[in-house]
């Protein structure tokens, strides 16, 4: 069981690293008080499994799951039809 969990985590990290590799060089990501990071720094942090790396994995995987389940389309539709 624990092997399966750790395999899943490793798979998620690999997916996020592959996604980050497509980031343009000029993009910096500010992660709160942890600082701001370029693509290669973030990839290293994910490989080291440090808190910043794990936070970015969490955000990216949550995004992919949202896409899969269409979770935020309702919000987008509501925004598109609002007058604000």
């Amino acid at each position: 069981m624990s092997d399966t969990i750790s395999d899943t985590k490793q798979e998620e990290q690999n997916i996020v690293i592959e996604r980050l590799k497509t980031l343009p060089e000029n993009v910096q990501i500010s992660v709160g008080s942890e600082g701001d990071f370029k693509r290669d720094e973030l990839i290293q942090r994910i490989e080291r499994q440090d808190p910043v790396g794990m936070k970015v994995v969490k955000a990216q995987i949550s995004f992919l799951q949202n896409l899969k389940h269409g979770k935020f389309y309702e919000q987008i539709y509501s925004a598109d039809t609002s007058d604000s």
């Binding site: 497509t22 980031l23 343009p24 060089e25 000029n26 993009v27 910096q28 990501i29 500010s30 992660v31 709160g32 008080s33 942890e34 600082g35 701001d36 370029k38 936070k55 955000a59 990216q60 949550s62 995004f63 949202n66 935020f72 919000q75 987008i76 509501s78 925004a79 598109d80 609002s82 604000s84």
Partner: protein, 215 residues
């Protein structure tokens, strides 16, 4: 009636420089409306001046830019300005927006329990992307704009007289529109890269207190 607005805007690292510079747009908007601005910028974003300004000027709205965690929001050089069980009751009767990591998690509810009308903030780290080529001109950074313009909408909506819940909805809708743009085939690679973090911020933006509170 003209309002009194207190801002803290530290400047000791790039993240806080970005959010503090973008807060200038809120300051300009409030000035146009005739509101009084109490601006603790740079070195002035310290605990002594913060507490003194709150006691003497009694602002109805506090817009706190800075780092922090679930228990505090910091000012210049990451020195805490407001901390749970230290001075969080200083925000009694105010509407507060903490553009700061995780402050909505514990500090927000504690402030509301002590009499803060409403506390707007994020349940986890506030994440944004920016263009390294614009690092010396944050206000021209179109990538950062995707995040910081919706954040500013919270303050400008409150200044216009909207309620806390209306201001949150306006901000979330603006984030959603930017997500929608970032997911189109016409979006640039850097805009597409912003989408996961726009959703992250949208999901973590929340408030405690009175939904109908105004400043």
């Amino acid at each position: 009636m003209n309002k009194s607005i207190l801002l803290t805007r530290p400047t000791h690292d790039r993240t806080v420089i970005y959010i503090s510079r973008w807060a200038e747009k809120v300051i300009n908007f409030a000035k146009e409306k005739g509101d009084k601005i109490l601006d603790l910028f740079g070195e002035k974003a310290n605990k002594q001046q913060f507490e003194s300004m709150l006691k003497k000027q009694c602002p109805s709205y506090c817009y706190l830019n800075g780092h922090g965690d679930s228990k505090c929001i910091t000012g210049q050089y990451n020195i805490p300005l407001v901390t749970i069980n230290n001075n969080h009751d200083i925000l009694t009767s105010k509407v507060v927006y903490g553009l700061s990591c995780s402050a909505a998690k514990e500090l927000g509810p504690a402030c509301v329990k002590s009499g803060t009308k409403a506390f707007i903030g994020y349940n986890d780290d506030y994440i944004f992307t920016f263009d390294d080529n614009s690092r010396t001109r944050p206000l021209d950074d179109k990538l950062a704009k995707l995040f910081l313009e919706p954040s500013n909408l919270i303050s400008t909506s409150l200044i216009k007289g909207h309620t806390v819940s209306e201001s949150i909805i306006a901000s979330k809708n603006a984030l959603a529109r930017n997500i929608s743009k970032a997911l189109t085939s016409e979006a640039k690679a850097e805009e597409r890269a912003a989408a996961p973090f726009l959703i992250w911020d949208l999901e973590n933006l929340t408030f405690y207190g009175e939904p109908g509170a105004k400043i």
